[in-house]
Subunit: 411 residues, 2 copies
Amino acid sequence: MGTEFLKIKEADEAKKIIKNLFDELYPQKSINIPIEDSHDQVIFKDIAALMDLPPFNRSLMDGYAVKAEDTFGATDEAPKILKCIDSIEAGSFSEKTIENGECIEISTGAPIPNGSDAIAMVEFTDRENENEEYDKIYILKSVAPNQDVALQGSDIKKDMLLLKEKTIISPDKIGVLAGQGIKEVEVFKKPKIGVISTGNELVMENESIEYGKIYDVNSYSIKNAAISNGAEAVSKGIVKDNYHELKTNIENSLKDSDIIVCSGGTSAGVGDVLRNVLEDIGEVILHGISVKPGKPTIIGKVGKKVVIGLPGNPVSALIIFYVFIIPNIRKIAGKPGESNSKVNVTLSKRIHSPKGRMHYSLVHVKENLAYPIIKDSGAITSLAHADGYIKIPKNIELLDEGEKVTVTLFK
Amino acid sequence: MGTEFLKIKEADEAKKIIKNLFDELYPQKSINIPIEDSHDQVIFKDIAALMDLPPFNRSLMDGYAVKAEDTFGATDEAPKILKCIDSIEAGSFSEKTIENGECIEISTGAPIPNGSDAIAMVEFTDRENENEEYDKIYILKSVAPNQDVALQGSDIKKDMLLLKEKTIISPDKIGVLAGQGIKEVEVFKKPKIGVISTGNELVMENESIEYGKIYDVNSYSIKNAAISNGAEAVSKGIVKDNYHELKTNIENSLKDSDIIVCSGGTSAGVGDVLRNVLEDIGEVILHGISVKPGKPTIIGKVGKKVVIGLPGNPVSALIIFYVFIIPNIRKIAGKPGESNSKVNVTLSKRIHSPKGRMHYSLVHVKENLAYPIIKDSGAITSLAHADGYIKIPKNIELLDEGEKVTVTLFK
């Protein structure tokens, strides 16, 4: 491959290289999970109905299951009289069969008994018991065959397509699955991401801080961005800017991660440490993207897994992760589109952009306006104010106030 | 209150009554949670910065911490020579103070030592050791005061507003909190919702099904809709259409729930069972909304808690829950807007609507078109195909093909 291959890449070219690498290494896989845990996950392949719905001919009213022909011509003045031979509550059933001249009392939702083909609503009947063996039911109105009966399979037929592949499982879809008695659903398997922060000066939020140290940001922002875009992600801790520590952590993390995302500390030498590790235990696929911010990004491969090196600056790390990595995570997880959410808004004031490099610029969004956040030195302030970023192509030096822009939201 | 008060309410009036009831009974509360668990939750009140960032004057480059004045006039030809008296890695510090003629080797990210006010980049220096006590550093270029120094607090000043109340905690915001060493964040407290399904014929998805039974849908769809809109929700199981069972379950569920959501089985009498329970242990606030679907909805109050009775039909139950209840759950949880997601699209074909009732109609959304789902008898098929619903006001009988509609998505 040599140095030629590792020249800084244009942003679009880098995107393509990274996409091809992910496509090659991470075929989409599936896993069966309980429907209880399936919210917001994505159906892997078409799901067929397991059963008819209703599963039986079902009464739509409280009343009497009858033979429709026995009711023909019934009126208030000339009722038809039927013998009531049983009663069916919703949830139970009758083993009896209706013969002509008979009926069975039935509740809404109960299965229609054998021999019956219609329901006479209770409102159009009278009931009488004069110490006879059976109650007499006066049918006051003629009913048609199938009247107030939901026929078996009229809602859903067994084996019909119930939910299509790639459907995102929303609350209503969980209900649809439950209604079929489905316990587990086959969804796209989430990639497992290990997140490593590199920097001698970094400590985690649950440690006390000494002079010279700062709290790590990237472990948290990168991990949560991965999770909310379809991954399982865990922090693999902080390592020093040290070849052996980084190598050991990456090797250990690869045991239970599909993808490793490192972010550099602040030292200019960090990229080199990761590069050296990658060259020794795998290979460097890409080092340097012509993009602002985030130029020193590294993409490597160890065995059949991708190891990513993001810049240490929290803004740069997050933007590079959203632009170049998240679309690929989403694809593995079956999620549609390159991000969770984009909005089309108007730029509130002009932004200058460096010529010759793709530029991603943080913005705050409020009431259909995007407000550029321009504070070079203030990484954390910028993140605190930002809602997302806009993309400014490399040949554009100026986006003017009033221009339409698409903001990818940090979600 | 009497019967007058319990006349069927117009949809808009019902919405107002329910909103007022929730506002009265459920003031927004807060809870402190670990930042690790805070994704997508909502900040309860303004959060101030706990510390300056950077927390110390920090080197932006690898090089030498110097007194700028010692470098004035330095060039390749006429370098200034300084004694190197110490070395500082990122994450550590030096207790030494620089005097004129001295410098300290420093890594990017390390704290600037006392006496120093600028960094000479390593690229513009040479180093020499001729067995003397100290290395000699040749400064080849003049540096200005504060050059390549990130001053303490230049990114964030202690006590400044870090994150505003009502901010939704996205991945970047978790990073911002972590960068301040913040372990716990005060967020809006989620309401606890107990979900009860009523119906003699209902079984849960993990039971075997007998003739005459059907699997429950509403426990799953309602519970998950509540969760994805900011609530904690648990299923309280299935109860029979029976006064005592329902009363006992509601009373038990109220012990650990803020809100109870029942949905009826299919029996026409179900509404009456819940109504009787509510009248005995609390009061009925509203019974019947002039809306399609979902007319038999009940809103009651037991002690200081709301008990809701949704229709049994899964489509009706879910629509009523989204339209009338979810906006109030979101308010308690601090979530903006009445739903997670709406889209403005074009109607693919005309829809007829009953005059005199507010109508909510299921639609499938694809490529900026809303396709009406019109299948009265097929509740589950409808849910399987639907992405959300549109609202058709009571005085409108026809929405024509090509009209713009707003779809509230089931999310």
